[in-house]
Amino acid sequence: MQVPILKQGPYLIASIQSALSDEDLVQLRDALVAQVGKLRSRGVIVDVTVLDVMDSFATRTLCDIAHMIRLRGAEMVIVGIQPEVAFALVRLGLKLEGVSTALDLEEGILYLDRKMIDSGKEMSIRER
């Protein structure tokens, strides 16, 4: 099942709707990395609220996506990791290193907004 990707201002929101197969995850990766360029997005939010299982493949793919998005010049944040899933990830020893997370969609947008303001400031300082 394909993950719908919505454009919301400067951000892309990928809202996962059901359990994803490995193929779906790879498709999501390719779509996001392409869309971020096509729509000149500044940030990406991947909402995993409905995922009741995140195994090593899913986690690794999400990490890959986050790093690829950063290499494309945007920021990514994963939102909605459920408490049980967080526990399983810790047990598995998967740390999502270098990947930003936020509680939910609202927090994710706030996080990206803050990032944008920070980077905007940096730019205006450099311009002076």
Partner: protein, 151 residues
């Protein structure tokens, strides 16, 4: 051994059937973990345990898809004294694991490369057994016991 002792205990009612899910593609991984979750829920596991069990099943079935191409997951409710639990057997007739102790070492596979993740599975479950023979196949058996209410 006395034949009598080899007979399985007589079980009545729900929770006695085995669930078998053939694993041939990545889609089957989702089916296996969903069926496992359902079975574990019917046994009475907590929602945290359901996630741990489903995650373990996901890892084990992924190993089958990656290394052996095909195999199966068999799940069965357990009852021992007053305890309830689940047993999950992941079986394939793939290439086998040449160095089992290395496969069970942390960092050998979980970090970057695909698959295995056996040390992680071990930490998700209560008991873990691995039998592997090169060119014959691999069988991983894991068990988890439900924590009694308030325990």
């Amino acid at each position: 051994m006395e034949g009598f002792h080899n007979l399985p205990p007589r079980n009545r009612g729900e929770g006695t059937e085995e669930v078998f899910v053939p694993i041939k593609s990545d889609r089957d991984i989702i089916i296996a973990r969903q069926r496992g979750k359902e079975l574990a829920a019917s046994i009475g596991f907590s929602s945290t345990d359901l996630t741990l069990i489903a995650t373990a099943i996901s890892e084990l079935s992924r190993n089958i898809v990656i290394y052996a191409k095909s195999g199966g997951i068999t799940m069965k409710p357990l009852r021992q004294g007053g305890r309830k639990g689940i047993r999950v057997v992941a079986q394939d007739e793939g290439p086998g694991i040449p160095d089992v102790s290395r496969a069970l070492q942390d960092g050998f596979s979980t970090s970057r490369s695909l698959g295995l993740g056996l040390p992680g599975v071990r930490r998700l479950m209560d008991a873990f057994e691995l039998v592997s023979e090169v060119n014959r196949g691999t069988t991983v058996t894991v068990r988890k016991w439900a924590t009694p209410e308030g325990g």
